[in-house]
Symmetry: C2
Subunit: 774 residues, 2 copies
C-alpha cells in the first residue's frame, strides 16, 4: 500500500509529464510545417490554406515569433470560447454531445466532492481506531485515515455514509434526467433544423426474398408500390462491391509507391530506383521501380474497370437489400417503424443510416446467419473477457515490489532505492494494464463487424458496450481482487451470492491508491499526450517527405482521426464508475477525477474544433448508451457499498441500502420510456411538419433527382477517375450542406466553393477506400 | 419417503375419485334440468333450447332412458370428434390454441417418456449400489432405484444422462419451434379470414394532452387530421362511467331481490313478504318487501338516468383517451405501430383491443403514474412471493407424519394405522398447498389491474406470468427445500452461486414421490372435478329456484365461466416444469404427467365445446408467453441437472452441460425474432391485401356508420332500457359475425336470428355490468 508520499511523487511525475506534453504541443503547433497536423479540420472545411504560400522560406517551416511561445497555454481559453450552437454547426451534434459527457462528469462530481469533503472526510478522520483494528488493518496508510476504513466496525457513524449514498444517488439521477432531457431536445432540434438529408427520406430494406422472375430492384419496386402506393418514390439496390473495393485499395497502395519512387528519382536522377517484385520488395526479380508500378497500376485500372462493369451487370452481385426512398419524410417514418410482411424476417425495414455511416459489407446477411453470428460472438466475448484476466493478473503480480523481488532477486538493491520503489508502485501497474488494452478495441470492432451491424455508428456503439463490460470485469474487478490477494480469485468462485459484494466491498478502500495512480497516468498524462498527436505527426511528416507532390497529396497525407466512440466513451465511463464507487468510500479520489474531467473537456474540445474529422453524424444516437452505463456504475457502487457495510457489523443497514438499486433501476426504466424513443424513432408529427413546410417552400423540388444517387457504394464514386466525379461527390454528399452554414470563425468564412477551386477536395468519407489518380 | 405401496394407494384413491367424478358427471349431465349447466355454450349460441318445452312432466327433469347411462364415458370421443377448424369457428382461436398447450405437452413428453424408460430406467436400475452409499442414502425407496440416485458417484453411466438431456432439449426445442410456426400461421390466417371487426380499423390513443380551447374529441380529431390526413375517419372518446356502472350493478341486485319476493308472494299469497331496510336485511324497519324494492328500483333508475346525462354532458367525465378509427386497415396498422409525437409519453397509440376485451377503468392513467404503479407492484409481488413461503412451509411441516406426531401426540395411534398413514403422506401435503393457492389468482389479478393494463387479455397474461413465478418459487422450490430439510432454507441463503443448483439438484430425486402425489391430486382428480362444474351447478339451481320466472331469466342464471388463462396456463406450465426437470432424473414421473395432459386435453376440449363462454378473443396473443415459459422450464431443468451432476463427482461434465442453457437461450431469442412479431404487430402487406379485397367487394360500404358506436362503454349500451338497444348490441357486436359462420353441428344450424326471437338475448359481454329490466 502506497503512502501519501508515494502518491505525491506519482502526482508530481504525472503533472510534470502532462506539462511537458503541453509545452511540446505549444511548441509544435506554432510551427507552420505542422499546421496540417494540428488544424486539419479547418483545411478539410476549406477555411484554412497552407501558410507555405507566403513569407520567407524559413518562416514557412519554423515560427520565429517568440512572443507566441510565451502564451503557450492560450489554446485552452480559445477552445472554450466557441459557443455550443456554433460547435454543433462546426463539428456536428455527435461531437458536441460527446463533450457533454465530460461536462456531465463535472456536474455530477463537483457537488459530490464538495459534500464528501465537507461531511464524510471529517466523519472518517475524527475516529479513534482501536488498537485491535489497527492490528487487523495492517495496511492502513494516510489515505485510509480519510476513508471509510478508519471508522470502526459497528459504529453509528456509518449512517452518515448511507445518507450520503442516498444524496449522491439522487443528485446523480437528477443530473442524468436533466441531461437526457436536454440532449433529447437537442437531437430533435438538430434533426428539425437540419436541411434536407437523404436519410430522412430513405429506409434500408434488408432480406428481400429472392424472386425467380424479377430482379431485386423490380421486386422491391413492386412490393413498395403495392404496400406504400402513395409514398414510394424510388429505390437503389446495393451491390456487392467488396472485391472492387479491395482492388481500388490495392491500386492506391501501388500509386503511393509509384509516387515515392518518382520523388526519389527526381531528387537523384543519377540512379534509376529499383525494386523487387516478391514479398515486401525483398524477394524476387529486380526491376525498374517506376516502370513496374506504372504497369501494375495500368493492369489494376483495367481490372477495376472490368470489375465495375461486372458488378453493374451481373445480377449475382446485387445484394438482397435496397435503399428505398419515399416522397415524404412521413412515408419514410411510417415504413421504418412498421412491419411489412407476414414473415418478420423478410422485408426488414429500418431507418437508413446516413450515407457516410453505412457499413456496406454487412447489408446482405440473412436472419438465421445473423442470430448464429450473435451467439458465436457472445460466446467469444465471454471467453475473451474471462480468460484475458489470467495474463493481466500475472503481469500485475510481477510488477509489484514483492513480485520483482521474488522473480528477479538481483534487482533488489535497485528497487530498494526510495525513488525507484515509488516509481514502480506508482507507475508500473497502470502501464501494465494500459499495454494490455491497446489491441482490445480493434478486436472488439472486428467482433462487432462480424455480428452484422449495418452502420458504423452502431458498430461503434456495440464495441463500446463490450469494451465497458470488459473494463469492468478485468480492470475494475481484476485490479481489486488480484490486488488484495491473488488467492481470493479462487475463493471468490466458491463464495455465496451475498458474500461476493462483501469481498469486493472490503477490498475497495484498500485499492484507492492504485486507482489514484491509474487516474493520473491514464487520465492526466494520457489526455495531455492525446493533444500532441504524436502518431499522426510522424506519419504526416513521413508521407510529406516521401509522397507529397501536390497540394492535394498533402491534403491526403493528413490524418485528422476522429473521436473514436468505441474506445473513448468506455474510458470516460470507467471514471464515472470509479468516482461513484469511491464517492462514499474514499472521497480523496474525487478531486483526481474532477481534474481528469476538466482537463479532458478542454483537450477534447480543442481537438474537436481543430483536429478531428467526424466520419459520420448519428445525431447523438449514442446517448441512451451513455446514460445506461452511468446508471450501471451507480448500481454497482450501491451494491458494493452494501457489501462493505455488511462487513462492518451494520447488517441492519442492508434493507435501507437495498432500496437504492431498486429505485435506480426504476429510474432507468422511467427514463427509457420517457426519452429513449427520441433516439430510436422519428415521430410522425415532426415528419409531417417538415414535409408541410418543405412543400410550401419548394413546391417544385425534384426529390427523385436529389435521392437518385445518394446511396451509391463509395467505391463507385471514388473509382470514377475524372474531376467531374469528384465534384459530384461533394455535390450530393452531406458535406456541402453542413458547410453552407455560415461559420463565424476566421476571415475566410463562408467560402467553401472557393476552397474547392484552390485544390482542396471534399474529405474522404470512408478513408480506406479513397483513391486518387495521378 | 413414501414407498411404491404408498404411491399405489394414492394412485388408487385418485383414480377412484376421478372415476366417481366422471360417473357423477355422466349422471348429472343426462338430467334435462341440468342441461343449462352442462351445455350453456349451445344455449348462448342459440343452437339449443330448453328441453322442458316438450314431453312428459317428469321427463323434463329426470332422464329415464337407462340406456344412456351405460355409455357414461361417451362424451370423451364426442369431445374429440369436432375438427379443429370447426372448433375455431365455434369457440374462437384463443380456446383452440389453449387446447394445443395440452397437445404440446403430449407431443413433448410421450417420446421423452418412451426414450427415458427404454434407456435411462435400465441404466439406473442395473446399478449395484455400494453399502456405503446405501447407508448415506437412508431414504432410498423403490422409486429411487429407478432414478438417478441409484447411480453411484463418479460413475461413467452419468454420461447417458447428459446425452439424454441433450436429446430431450433438442426434441423439446424442435416441437416448440414447429408449434410456434403453426400457431403464428393459425393466428395470421384467423385474422385474415375473419370478417370485418372494429378493432381492425381502430387504435387506442392514450395520454391525449389537455387543451384549454378544445374538447378531447376535437383535439384528437385535429391531431389525426393533421398527421394522418388521408386515413383518419372518426374517433370515440372514453367516458369515465365507473360510477354509472356501480349504479347499474346495484340496480340489478335490487331487481333480483324484487323478483325473489314476487316469486315468494306468488307461491304463497296469504302472507305479504316483509324485509328490513338495514344491513343485509337484518336490521332496521320492517317494510313490505315488494313495495320497498319497487320504489328503490325507481329511485335508482332515476339516478342512473341523471348520471348518464351528466357523464354525457360534463367535459370532466371525458377521459384523455380515445378510440380513433381509420378508413383502412393500413392506416390503423401504421398509426398503431408508429410514434406520433415528439414527447413519447403523449399521444400513445396501440392496437385497440376487441370491444369486449377493453378494461375501461384503466384507460386514463398518465405515464408517470403508470411507471410508479409498476414499481409498487414489482415490490409488492416480491414480498408476496418470498413471505408467502413461511406459512406454506409451516403447514407442510405440520401435515407430515412427524409433524402431526409432534404437535398432536394423542393422534399417534390413529396415524399409525397403515391406511391413514398412507393417506396423510399421499394427500395432505398436496391439499395444504392447494388451499393456499386458491386466493392467489384474485390477488394477482387485482395487482395487474392496479398496474394499468388496458385490456382484459393483457391483464390475464400479466397475472399468469406472476402466478408462474410464484408457483416456481413457492411450490416448486419451496417443496423441494423445505421437503428435504427446513434448515436448508437458512444455509441456502448463505450458499455460493455454484452451490445453489447443487443443493436443489440433490434434493430433486428425493422429492419425486411428493410431486407424483401432487400430480395425481391436482392433475387427475382435480381435472376430473373440473368437468363436474359443482359450483355453477349449485348456483344455477339456487337461482333457478328463487329468481327465474321467464326463459330469459333462466338464460341469465347460467354461469358458463371461461377458460381463465391467468390460472389455467400457469398450472399447465407447472407440469411442463416437473416433466422437464424429472425427465433425466426420475423418469418414473413422466407417465403420470402424460396421463394428466391427456385427461386434461379431453376434459377441456369438452368444456370448451359445451360449456365455457369466451369473454374476449385475442387471437392467441398469449402464445409467446406459453413458449417462453416452457423455455424457462427447460433452462431450469438444465441448471438443476448441472447441480446434481456437480454432487456426483462428475465435475468434468459441467462444461458439457453449460452449453445447453446457452443454446436454449439462443433458441429463445431466435424464435422471438422469427415469430413474436406475428403476435404483436400487424404487417402492412396483410392490411393492404384485406383493404384491397374489401374495396373490390363492397365499394359502397358505410364504414363510419359501422364504427360509430363500436367502442361505447358497455354500461351505456346495457342501461338503455328498450328492446331496440338490445337489438343494437347484437347488431354491431362481434357475436353476430362469428355466428354467421355456418356451424355443422346439430339440426338448428345457422339460425342465430330465430333464436333471438325465441327469447335468448345476445350473451353478456361483461357479466358484472349486465342489467336486465323487468
Amino acid at each position: 500500500m502506497a503512502t501519501l508520499g508515494d502518491i505525491g511523487l506519482a502526482a508530481a511525475i504525472n503533472i510534470i509529464s502532462a506539462f511537458i506534453f503541453f509545452l511540446a504541443f505549444a511548441f509544435l503547433r506554432l510551427q507552420p510545417f505542422n499546421d496540417r497536423v494540428y488544424f486539419p479540420k479547418w483545411y478539410l472545411k476549406g477555411l484554412r490554406s497552407s501558410p507555405t504560400h507566403s513569407g520567407a522560406f524559413v518562416r514557412k517551416f519554423v515560427n520565429l515569433d517568440f512572443r507566441s511561445y510565451i502564451r503557450f497555454l492560450n489554446w485552452m481559453p480559445a477552445a472554450l470560447k466557441m459557443p455550443e450552437p456554433e460547435l454543433i454547426d462546426h463539428a456536428g451534434l455527435d461531437s458536441a454531445v460527446y463533450l457533454r459527457i465530460y461536462l456531465l462528469g463535472l456536474k455530477i462530481f463537483v457537488p459530490i466532492a464538495i459534500f464528501a469533503w465537507a461531511i464524510l472526510v471529517p466523519v472518517n478522520w475524527t475516529n479513534k481506531v482501536s488498537d485491535i483494528d489497527k492490528l487487523a488493518n495492517v495496511t492502513a496508510s494516510d489515505i485510509d485515515k480519510l476513508s471509510v476504513s478508519n471508522v470502526p466496525s459497528g459504529s453509528h457513524r456509518f449512517w452518515t455514509h448511507i445518507v450520503m449514498a442516498y444524496a449522491f444517488t439522487f443528485w446523480t439521477c437528477y443530473v442524468l434526467l436533466k441531461e437526457y432531457e436536454t440532449i433529447a431536445s437537442m437531437r430533435l432540434q438538430f434533426l428539425a433544423s437540419e436541411s434536407r438529408r437523404p436519410d430522412q427520406f430513405s429506409v434500408l430494406v434488408r432480406n428481400v426474398p429472392p424472386d425467380p422472375d424479377e430482379s431485386v430492384s423490380e421486386s422491391v419496386e413492386h412490393f413498395f408500390l403495392v404496400n406504400h402506393p402513395d409514398h414510394y418514390l424510388t429505390n437503389q439496390v446495393v451491390y456487392d462491391a467488396n472485391k472492387l473495393a479491395k482492388l481500388v485499395k490495392k491500386k492506391k497502395k501501388m500509386h503511393n509507391w509509384l509516387v515515392y519512387y518518382r520523388n526519389k528519382f527526381s531528387r537523384d536522377d543519377s540512379k534509376k530506383p529499383m525494386t523487387k517484385t516478391g514479398f515486401l520488395g525483398l524477394l524476387g526479380e529486380r526491376v525498374d521501380a517506376i516502370e513496374y508500378y506504372t504497369s501494375e497500376i495500368d493492369k489494376l485500372s483495367k481490372e477495376i474497370a472490368e470489375e465495375r462493369d461486372r458488378v453493374a451487370s451481373d445480377p449475382k452481385s446485387v445484394m438482397p437489400a435496397s435503399f428505398v426512398s419515399f416522397k415524404t419524410r412521413w412515408g419514410a417514418a411510417v415504413c421504418a417503424q412498421t412491419q411489412q410482411c407476414r414473415n418478420p424476417t423478410l422485408w426488414l425495414t429500418e431507418w437508413a443510416p446516413e450515407p457516410r455511416d453505412v457499413y456496406w459489407k454487412n447489408l446482405a446477411i440473412p436472419y438465421v446467419s445473423l442470430t448464429v453470428r450473435r451467439l458465436m460472438m457472445g460466446v467469444a466475448f465471454f471467453f475473451l473477457t474471462f480468460f484475458f484476466m489470467i495474463p493481466i493478473t500475472f503481469v500485475q503480480s510481477l510488477a509489484s515490489i514483492e513480485g520483482i523481488e521474488k522473480w528477479a532477486p538481483f534487482l533488489r538493491p535497485l528497487i530498494e532505492v526510495k525513488f525507484i520503489k515509488s516509481f514502480i508502485q506508482g507507475f508500473l501497474p497502470g502501464i501494465a494494464l494500459k499495454l494490455f488494452l491497446i489491441f482490445l478495441p480493434a478486436i472488439l470492432m472486428i467482433m462487432s463487424k462480424f455480428e452484422g451491424f449495418t452502420s458504423i455508428s452502431s458498430l461503434e456503439r456495440r464495441a463500446a458496450s463490450r469494451y465497458y463490460l470488459f473494463n469492468f470485469v478485468n480492470v475494475f474487478l481484476g485490479s481489486i481482487i488480484s490486488g488484495t490477494a491473488l488467492e481470493q480469485l479462487n475463493t471468490f468462485l466458491n463464495e455465496s451470492a451475498n458474500k461476493i459484494p462483501e469481498t469486493i466491498g472490503v477490498a475497495i478502500p484498500m485499492r484507492a491508491t492504485f486507482f489514484i495512480t491509474y487516474i493520473m497516468v491514464d487520465g492526466w498524462a494520457g489526455i495531455a499526450a492525446e493533444i500532441l498527436m504524436l502518431k499522426p505527426l510522424i506519419i504526416y511528416h513521413l508521407k510529406n517527405f516521401f509522397l507529397v507532390k501536390t497540394e492535394k497529396d498533402r491534403e491526403e497525407a493528413m490524418d485528422p482521426g476522429s473521436l473514436g466512440f468505441n474506445t473513448g466513451e468506455p474510458r470516460i465511463q470507467f471514471y464515472f464508475l470509479l468516482g461513484l464507487v469511491y464517492a462514499t468510500v474514499t472521497p480523496v479520489l474525487l478531486p483526481f477525477i474532477i481534474v481528469f474531467f476538466a482537463l479532458a473537456y478542454v483537450v477534447f474540445r480543442h481537438q474537436i474544433i481543430n483536429v478531428y474529422n467526424q466520419e459520420y453524424e448519428s445525431g447523438a444516437a449514442f446517448w441512451p448508451d451513455v446514460h445506461g452505463r452511468v446508471i450501471i456504475a451507480l448500481i454497482i457502487s450501491q451494491v458494493l457499498l452494501m457489501g462493505l457495510m455488511g462487513t462492518k457489523d451494520t447488517a441492519q443497514s442492508t434493507p435501507v441500502i437495498i432500496a437504492l438499486p431498486v429505485l435506480t433501476i426504476w429510474f432507468y426504466k422511467f427514463c427509457k420510456g420517457r426519452y429513449e424513443s427520441a433516439f430510436v424513432k422519428y415521430p410522425l408529427q415532426e415528419a409531417m411538419m417538415k414535409d408541410t413546410l418543405e412543400r410550401a417552400r419548394e413546391p417544385h423540388l425534384n426529390l427523385k433527382g436529389y435521392l437518385q444517387n445518394a446511396y451509391t457504394h463509395p467505391v463507385f464514386k471514388e473509382s470514377e477517375e475524372d474531376e467531374e466525379a469528384d465534384q459530384e461527390i461533394g455535390g450530393d454528399s452531406w458535406e456541402t450542406e453542413s458547410a453552407r452554414v455560415p461559420t463565424k470563425r476566421q476571415s475566410r468564412r463562408n467560402t467553401p466553393l472557393a476552397s474547392r477551386i484552390s485544390g482542396a477536395s471534399s474529405p474522404p468519407s470512408l478513408p480506406d477506400v479513397v483513391v486518387e489518380q495521378a
